[in-house]
Subunit: 440 residues, 2 copies
């Protein structure tokens, strides 16, 4: 019996999953490595953060996904070393390092937040990149609301009930809208004694929201956010962040205990383990077959990789790009094994959409058709339901959504007690050497 | 406008909730205090621990329960001091102490595990008294399974896959059965490569399981456990517990990384804040009106309280006792205010039941009718569905149960990354002064 060639995929995000799926039942042995035992449906993290969904509704165990596929194996661990000469990867599994030899490596570890040099913001900022980020934000927001009920000082109470969201991309809009609805349509029902009015401020550096959208949709998004009640501050940067206040570049001070950072991401640092020169945002330059430049047996995809779409501008860090590049990388592994010519990545762009709240959204379908309001929201809802992996998860998410829509209720607003150490909750990538990988 | 008399209830468990419900819309102001913002449906904690249910399916926000009741208020915090002279309670809310004056106090803080003097066991033991206990056990068990897949040493792998459950009461039986099913009917499906056989050992000091049941049902429970595959060790005590092994009183050594302790409970230590003499198990002696002996305005109920049922034997620490005593305490607060004579507690005992796994259970209805097997299991299922608070939670639990039953699947087996500090996860009572009450 000859051994099949071995393909290691780092990361069980959208790119890694699609690459693995493409290799299912082929004559290769696939080892999928992730620091979590589940795939996270990241577009709905903000719904977990705002108590609309349960964490497990957007997390799906990797082993379940590939249960019936005998050539796909899963390893729970953190990649700490890549040796492209020896073709091997070192993975920390709990406290045990493991070395795995590969014939082909696909790097698909995604991206992490970046503060563009202001890393001190991170001490007080909340992020929304992992399931634990979202639970942490939910705990925080619910706790502040509890504290606000019993606070007699007006200024302090207002600060407790003010959330600053930084970043005018889809995540920023979705979070701002959902937090506002959570506060002013859901939680305030629970506190009939107190007249609690929460404030949500969205801060964006540029003079418009949603950079990649046509200006009509940018404006529609802003109008819908403002009609909901969110305050939009365009053309401003955050310059200082403290536990109880945020300072903008015009010197204005916002008393707030909650800053949600969704202003930017960079490639996950696993890329640094490769002996290749990275772009300034940490991405790995790849050629049009998704192969890492100068490395015959290493591929990189999605947010981790850089391939110019236009002159000196890479493809956007979007799920469909990662998925399609994952498929290309996997097919090119097979092409290499079969001695056929490699496939070139061609992005099939079906459009982009962002939701703002109940019946509020914008969509830019096939980059030609603009939708706004309820129609865009329904399109968003349908797309995300279809995308969610697994029948059962989809059904329960759907039940929750319908329930929330009818009742304005949020069923899952329980406060978890977790570690007070931020670091153990916010590490979102496969590659940081982190002491608390697994709780024992 | 005159101020209504104020009733403080410590604990939003079954007793506290029933007391509060009884005071709804009466001429009193109720302040319900709990360290969590939710009520926990404790009988199903083991299902969260074994990945059958989501945490939020058995947790219900206290504020939602009493949303439409204007005279019931909720305070999230930990009681640190009770002054029965001044009639006031000190509560730590986050880092802020708060003093609340009461006219009547109802102590309903429940119970916590006891190791009967062997407190060193606690370092390695897992408990099942709080939502966080159950998530901690789930993480642990799922992580060990992942580790076992990649372990080449047979002895080490077997130790990773051996769970010792201590205590032959309902919680012990339920946990042993559910862990066995999780391992040998669910998780092993996810790991087709490895032939993983897990072992579950139930250790009970007495010579039979389920002390309060008639011997026929005790035997039926044991037979059903053994038919499932659980090893039952009767007449044995645990004498030593380490990270990787458990030692019994006959010197026999069980290599195991997981000990679940459900051998006994004592009253929650909030009782110690009362200037009254406690029983050896920490319970507060009360009279038949649930009033604390010698204190006119303080009541204690449920697991926290001691009232002799038979000579020198208190009522069992069961949910119906807590609920019914909660009602009596509340009615006697009202009786005192109205100048009417107090009501005496009379326990309405509808029976007891314990489930062992899929289609396996025993029930002792009205202490007269014995049920075993599928019929007892259906009775158990129905009763727990009816008991679960709130329509929506009940529905989603029901969907999960049906799904699990049909597919042998567990939908929620994701590993949370939490604090590595056990102490921040396992404190289960309202009254320990704990630094990590709320995560900020």
């Amino acid at each position: 019996m000859t051994q099949n060639p071995k393909v290691i995929i780092i990361g069980a995000g959208f790119g890694g999953l699609f690459a693995a799926r493409e290799l299912a039942n082929q004559s290769v042995d696939v080892l999928l490595v992730d620091r979590n035992n589940y795939h996270t449906f990241t577009p709905l993290l903000y719904q977990v953060a705002t108590a609309a969904l349960d964490p497990s509704q957007i997390a799906y165990p990797v082993r379940s996904i590939f249960r019936s596929i005998p050539n796909i194996h899963f390893l729970l661990g953190i990649v700490t070393k890549i040796d492209a000469e020896l073709q091997q990867v070192t993975i920390m599994c709990g406290e045990q390092p493991r070395t795995e030899v590969y014939d082909y490596l696909i790097v698909a570890a995604g991206s992490v937040p970046t503060y563009f040099g202001s890393d001190d913001f991170r001490q007080y900022a909340f992020e929304l990149r992992t399931l634990h980020d979202s639970i942490r934000l939910r705990n925080h927001v619910l706790n502040l609301f509890e504290e606000a009920v019993w606070t007699e000082d007006d200024a302090h109470r207002n600060a407790l009930l003010t959330v600053v969201v930084v970043g005018g991309g889809p995540t920023g809009l979705e979070t701002a809208g959902a937090v506002f609805e959570l506060y002013n349509h859901v939680l305030n029902q629970d506190y009939p004694q107190a007249d609690l009015k929460a404030k949500v401020i969205l801060v964006e550096m540029q003079n418009h929201l949603l950079g990649p959208y046509p200006s009509r949709l940018r404006q529609a998004a802003q109008d819908q956010l403002e009609s909901l009640g969110v305050e939009v501050q365009l053309g401003h940067r955050v310059t200082e962040v403290y536990a109880d206040r945020v300072v903008l570049d015009d010197g204005s001070l916002i008393p707030s205990h909650t800053l949600v950072w969704s202003a930017g991401v960079k490639a996950a640092p696993v890329a640094e383990l490769l002996a290749t020169e990275l772009r300034s945002n940490g991405t790995i330059p790849i050629d049009s077959t998704t192969r890492v430049q100068g490395m015959k047996r290493v591929f990189a995809i999605g947010d981790n990789a850089y391939l110019p779409q236009h002159e000196n501008v890479g493809y956007p860090m979007l799920i469909p790009v990662a998925q399609q590049q994952g498929q290309v990388a996997a097919r090119n592994v097979l092409a290499d094994l079969n001695g056929t010519s490699p496939k070139t990545f061609r992005y099939v762009d079906k459009g982009i959409m962002a939701t703002i709240g109940r019946s509020r959204a914008v969509a830019w379908i096939f980059n030609r058709f603009a939708l706004t309001g309820r129609l865009a929201w329904l399109a968003w809802l349908g797309l995300h339901l279809v995308m969610l992996l697994g029948f059962r998860n989809r059904l329960s998410v759907f039940i929750n959504w319908i329930w929330n829509y009818i009742t304005y209720d949020r069923s899952v607003r329980i406060i978890w007690r977790q570690s007070a150490q931020k670091s153990s909750l916010s590490d979102s990538t496969l590659d940081e050497q982190h002491p608390v990988l697994l709780e024992k």
